[in-house]
């Protein structure tokens, strides 16, 4: 099955993933994140104020201002971090793979090649829909840690990515099918009946 090949690979002439110009995420996506966080922090504010009103022993008397100040600093820091991390995020689509870079303290670059993608998911939340945004998720067989999710794409772009990657998956499946016809391998993926979880009959009495 495995044909032996041994061509020399000249590393220096290969395209460099690190030199690829990354596209930033849509500016609107930052607004979406801001709105989401704002809602979250407003809800977070409720217990602080409630504490002040329920307080029967007057323990928090006059201390509400500190609570609010703490809350304010927290929100400010978080928004600052959000802005930083938004700026750090970027993606690139190449002919054969998708690159995504993110992280403020630790910069992570994830690369998924199109011919290893199992399936593609396109997500669109309520807020994203208003701004015409969508996110795309590429699933590989490498487990959840290696799945690639890119938020804040234009809906049109996301659709294009999904289509192009899906096409590639179909191509590969067809190639594999042709192979399996000629080689009679046991591989088939479009027919799935998963046996019952408890399929050890002798374990049930």
């Amino acid at each position: 099955m495995q044909e032996f090949k041994n061509e020399i690979i000249d590393i220096s002439t290969l395209p460099k993933f690190e030199d690829v110009k990354l596209q930033p995420l849509q500016k609107e996506y930052f607004k979406v994140m801001l709105i989401q966080r704002s809602v979250f922090y407003t809800i977070f504010l409720i217990p602080i104020i409630a504490l002040f009103f329920i307080d029967t022993n007057d323990f928090f008397e006059g201390k509400l201002i500190y609570g609010l100040l703490f809350w304010f600093v927290l929100v400010l820091l978080n928004f600052f971090y959000l802005k930083l991390s938004f700026r750090k995020k970027g993606f690139a689509l190449r002919e054969h793979d998708v690159i995504f870079k993110s992280g403020v303290i630790s910069e992570t670059t994830t690369i998924v090649t199109n011919n290893r993608v199992q399936h593609v998911a396109l997500h669109q939340g309520m807020l994203s829909r208003i701004f015409g945004l969508a996110s795309i998720e590429l699933f590989t067989a490498g487990g959840s840690a290696s799945d690639l999710k890119i938020n804040g794409l234009l809906f049109e772009d996301a659709k294009k990515i999904k289509e192009s990657v899906s096409e590639r998956i179909i191509e590969i499946t067809e190639e594999a099918k042709e192979q399996s016809v000629t080689l009679e391998t046991e591989h088939q993926s479009d027919y799935q009946v998963i046996p019952n979880e408890n399929n050890e009959p002798d374990d049930t009495i």
Binding site: I9, K16, H96, N196, N199, P201, T204, I205
Partner: protein, 500 residues
Amino acid sequence: MIQSNFDFSIPQRQSLIGIFVLFANTLQKSIRALWPIILVFVFNNKEYKPFFIYLTIFGIVVLITIIAFLRYWFFKFYIDYQLEEFVIESGIFNKTKTTIPFHKIQKVTIDQSLIQRIFSVHKLELDTAGSDKKEASIKAISQQMAVELKRSLLENTKEKALLVPETELVERQDESFITISLPSLLKIGITSNYLISFIYLIGIFSTISENLKQIGKENLIDENINQLERLPIVSLLLGFLIFSFTAIIITNLVITVLKYFNFTIKKDGKSFVLTYGLLNIKNTIINPEKVQIIKITQNFFQKKLNINTIEIFQASSDMKRASVKDRTKIPGCNTTEKEQIVKLIINRLPAKEVTLYPNIRKLLIGILFFIILPVSIGIVINYTTNRFPVNAIGLMISLYSLIMGLILFISYKNYRLFISDEFIVQQSGAWDIDHKIIMPYKIQAIKTQQFFWQKLTNIGSIELYTAGGRISFSTANFEEIKEQVNKWLYQVEVSKENWM
């Protein structure tokens, strides 16, 4: 189609004589579940009337017979020709229906264990690739029925043309490829898994003491401990060490031999079959195409004794997700056997063309987090509480630093990434030294990672994901890493080979 004496489209039961096999099976299971209680009753000094003992034994035998009969009665199997499935129904109260589509069946094995041989019945098992667990097993059927069932299953599977072509109707006499000898197993038993056996022992002791407490015999332990306390501390410590060490080794030996007795590897066309076990015989199919990672482990003693442990990580047959990954262990093979097995899976031995080394900072960070930090916390705590005198704490610190430093230094020295065009080998470990082998075209995704302060020194890390787990290499020259990443991406993108 050959004329069959059985109609497998209607539900069939096992052989009636199979009840004995089921009886033995149920008995074995009950003993395994209840052995601490049985042990406690046997060693309980209370005098029981003989009549009472006989009555209990009789009652248990009757109960197990009833269970065995019910299991026999409710166990049915049939072939659904329309849906192209093999169906097993079982369970007395919890009904289980197992369906195995024909196209998933990789192998049908007919086997006989000791008990089955006594009652001249056969066991039939269905295998799907990449799974240690049997998808389905029928414990006791007559030989004629087993052969015919196997034939009808294979005929139908063959029609689907998806079965591995090598699995032929005619029983070929598979020749044994490698057999792991008992001495090798014993060597593995005394040189590995100390930690696991230790935990296992603690588990056993706590179950025993728990059961002793339940019948009000906890003073048995207390008295013994009180007697021990009269001994001088040094001999007590020494005795404890010797005792636990022997106990660990004995448990290790017993577990290893029970689990891996008569470990044989048979080649079966493209795939190969592992058979092992003393009480429970296990069959595992390894399909080289599905193998994602090969891990070879050896420690200092094992190197001297010339034995290795090989672990094989396969991608799951169905979902193609790493979450259901499967590991198979091959214990105690010597260097030639190891090379044979590796060649069997990946055709050749991995070459080491390029080597990536970790930066010295990896060692320094290790020293900071595992020596300097804990030691200074220890000093501060001791300074405030005055628990130990200065010279005692000094001795402890230097001993700890020495051992920890040695471990860190050795693991730093062993930490390597060997790269060739066809293989990536990660070497790591201080005591148990692991070699993880993957092939570039089996990579699913690549992640590079760098902390912002590492930009100045140009170091970073990499993680390579396969369908059977991942390997990583950290604190290495980031330029070299990026160069290799570009090469691997190229290799993955042009690869037409089936990665599973």
